[in-house]
């Protein structure tokens, strides 16, 4: 129903903080765009500029082809779900959901029909007469969603909507939000600092860092080809192993002097590989893969379905994922391998090469 276009959007707060430093994103119709990044990187600021809650210092925000820089939040036809839900505490659930429709002068029976329909979708029917303080965290979250959906806006905006829920509920709601967004077909912008949420929800994933876009694209593409060491360590859990190299004559040396021969592209200075792409074999054997780093196990973290070995190798901490129960114990000597096509290379500045 609507596209959202950000063109070189900037935000300088009155105090002089430059929170967003030129962001351009084109969100296609019906897509769910996730902004992910560490706390303080400007995600909320960007979202609030789309909502009309913050002025735009430079650049333009367009919704459905119309520049909305000078238009108030009410006229942008957006709905927002806040992190603390921002439910009106003195109103019943019904009135919380009806408030926006009443302000827009909708007829009483239409309001009633839409509120009840939405409540049906979200299984809130039996809660309509309650006040927010009589609801659990998960129920409040659903009411906040309901308040957004009932208005049938052009764009949904979510600012960390699940971060106040416990892990299990967060997982359920994540799936539910995705399904709702799909079935309603409403273009959405979703802010989170949780990379799992970002990966699973996004049609378009935007990784932000210090007010700028680090990488933008399909989540799996970003996972497979992170554009920088920042993205590599932010997307994926546990994070990608990153090792600094010094260039030898025809091969690469790890910072502590251990030599390992690997074919590296020109300009590479940092080697990265993911824990799930790594392979660990006992110290006296050679791994099949190109890389064969000698390492010592420092800790073992069993998760059940898999285990993580925390090793020290070449002066760095390296995490290796092994399926099921790990046989290694702390102090064991290992060799860590990774297939050469699973290796990532970055230059001195952390940008991807090759």
């Amino acid at each position: 129903m609507a596209t959202v276009d950000l063109r070189d959007v900037r935000k300088v707060y009155p105090g002089g903080v430059e929170a967003v430093k030129g962001v351009s994103i084109a969100i296609p119709d019906k897509a769910l765009c996730v902004l992910v990044g560490p706390s303080g990187c400007g995600k909320s600021t960007l979202l609030r500029m789309i909502a009309g809650l913050e002025t735009i210092s430079a650049g333009s925000v367009s919704i459905d082809g119309r520049v909305v820089n000078a238009i108030g939040p009410a006229e942008r036809d957006i709905a927002m779900v806040f992190q603390n839900y921002a439910l009106y505490p003195h109103m019943k659930v019904y009135d919380n959901m009806a408030y926006g429709l009443r302000n827009r002068g909708k007829a009483k029976d239409e309001i009633d029909r839409r509120v009840r329909e939405t409540a049906e979708i979200l299984e809130l029917g039996h809660l309509l007469e309650r006040r927010p303080r009589e609801l659990s965290g998960g129920q409040r979250q659903r009411v906040a969603m309901g308040r957004a959906i009932v208005r049938n806006p052009k764009v949904f905006l979510f600012d960390e909507p699940l971060s106040n829920l416990d892990a299990k509920l967060r997982g359920q709601m994540r799936v539910e939000i995705k399904n709702l967004q799909r079935s309603l077909g409403v273009t959405s912008v979703y802010v989170t600092h949780d990379q799992l949420e970002a990966m699973t929800l996004a049609d378009v994933l935007v990784v932000m860092n210090a007010g700028q876009v680090e990488q933008l694209g399909n989540p799996l593409d970003i996972y497979e080809k992170p554009a920088s060491t920042f993205v590599a360590s932010f997307i994926g859990a546990p994070p990608m192993n990153l090792l600094k190299l010094t260039r030898g004559s025809n091969e690469f040396a790890f910072a502590n002097g251990a030599h390992v021969a690997v074919a590296a592209p020109a300009g590479a200075a940092i080697l990265g590989f993911r824990p799930e792409d790594a392979e660990a074999v006992p110290g006296d054997q050679a791994p099949q893969a190109g890389l064969a780093l000698p390492a010592v196990v420092e800790a073992v973290e069993p998760v059940g379905s898999e285990s993580f070995l925390y090793c020290s190798a070449a002066g760095s901490r390296i995490i290796v994922r092994v399926p099921g129960r790990a046989t290694a114990t702390p102090g064991d000597k290992l060799r860590i391998g990774a297939k050469s096509e699973k290796l990532h290379w970055f230059d001195e500045a952390g940008k991807r090469v090759g």
Binding site: A74, N84, A86, P89, G100, N103, R147
Partner: protein, 304 residues
């Protein structure tokens, strides 16, 4: 008592004094103060209200409820009740409405916020009698600067002769002094409203005025209710100094509130029995009023 203590203990790890006497010793100072400064004078007033002194104040006799009957059938007293109702209602409403307006505006000030608020609090530090004198001078028909301005605007203004003008003047002075106090509470109340609620309402299509009446004002209800109780009590009891300084209850008896009449009859006219009966009635009125406020008004208040 012992039973309820034990039950509490099983529910929460509360500290319990096994000693039977210590708790009473600990509350004794508080009880003593309440007894000496409240119950004793109250009981004295109650006792006095049933006595009638002879004109020379040499002897007194027990007359049961005669004083009450006389007071309640006195047209001056009925007038005083009306004056008090008008005065208290007007003072509380003006003081709260103006304070709320100022607080809402102060909430929007970004630069010099602290200075603005500090300046707003000063009137509260002014003693009632001085506040009264201030307003008296400003609005004195012959020398008052503002009275001159009013006359220039074509308003016939003379609080020394006109009872209505006098009432306006005492209400203004009494409200002015209470505005700072109300302002502080309203500012705090406004700050306690999460900003995201206002933002959510803005996105929900509510304009500024609508947001105020549908979100901010209802959420301020606990503060407003608290201030309503405080302001009515203030208007009833703590405005004696202002009335004394500004109008002395006049002209005629146009600004003679119940408290002022107690003083006039008791200390000026020395009709102690009547004065005591009036105090007792006053006490009953305030208790009834507060009970009413808590019972009926508070019910409409939503505490977050």
């Amino acid at each position: 008592m012992a039973l309820s203590f034990r039950r509490r203990k099983s529910l929460s790890p509360r500290v319990v004094f096994p000693n039977r006497i210590l708790p009473y010793l600990l509350v004794a100072p508080q009880l003593a103060i309440t007894a000496v400064f409240f119950y004793w004078p109250a009981s004295q007033a109650l006792y006095q209200s049933a006595l009638r002194e002879d004109p020379f104040g040499l002897s007194s006799k027990f007359v049961w409820f005669d004083n009450f009957v006389r007071v309640l059938s006195d047209p001056n007293y009925v007038n005083s009740v009306q004056v008090t109702a008008v005065f208290s209602l007007a003072t509380a409403l003006v003081a709260m409405a103006v304070a709320l307006l100022l607080a809402v505006m102060a909430d929007k000030v970004i630069r010099g916020r602290g200075i603005y608020r500090t300046l707003m609090i000063w009137p509260y530090a002014v003693a009632p009698a001085i506040a009264g004198m201030l307003w008296l001078f400003l609005f004195n028909p012959s020398i008052g600067t503002l009275a001159y301005g009013l006359r220039w605007l074509g308003i016939a203004w003379n609080p020394l002769l006109d009872g209505g003008d006098a009432m306006v003047l005492v209400v203004a002075a009494a409200a002015w002094k209470q505005i700072s106090y109300n302002f502080l509470f309203f500012v705090a109340g406004l700050q306690a409203i999460p900003k995201t609620l206002i933002e959510a309402a803005a996105i929900d299509g509510a304009g500024e005025t609508k947001r105020f009446w549908t979100i901010i004002f209802p959420l301020l209800a606990p503060t407003t209710f608290f201030l309503l109780v405080i302001n009515t009590t203030y208007a009833f009891f703590d405005t004696f100094g202002i009335i004394h300084a500004v109008t002395g209850g006049g002209p005629g008896k146009a600004t003679e509130t119940l408290v002022y009449k107690v003083y006039n009859d008791g200390f000026v006219n020395l009709i102690l029995g009547d004065s005591a009966a009036q105090s007792v009635i006053l006490m009953a009125i305030v208790i009834a009023l507060t009970a009413f406020q808590f019972r009926f008004v508070e019910r409409k208040v939503h505490y977050g």
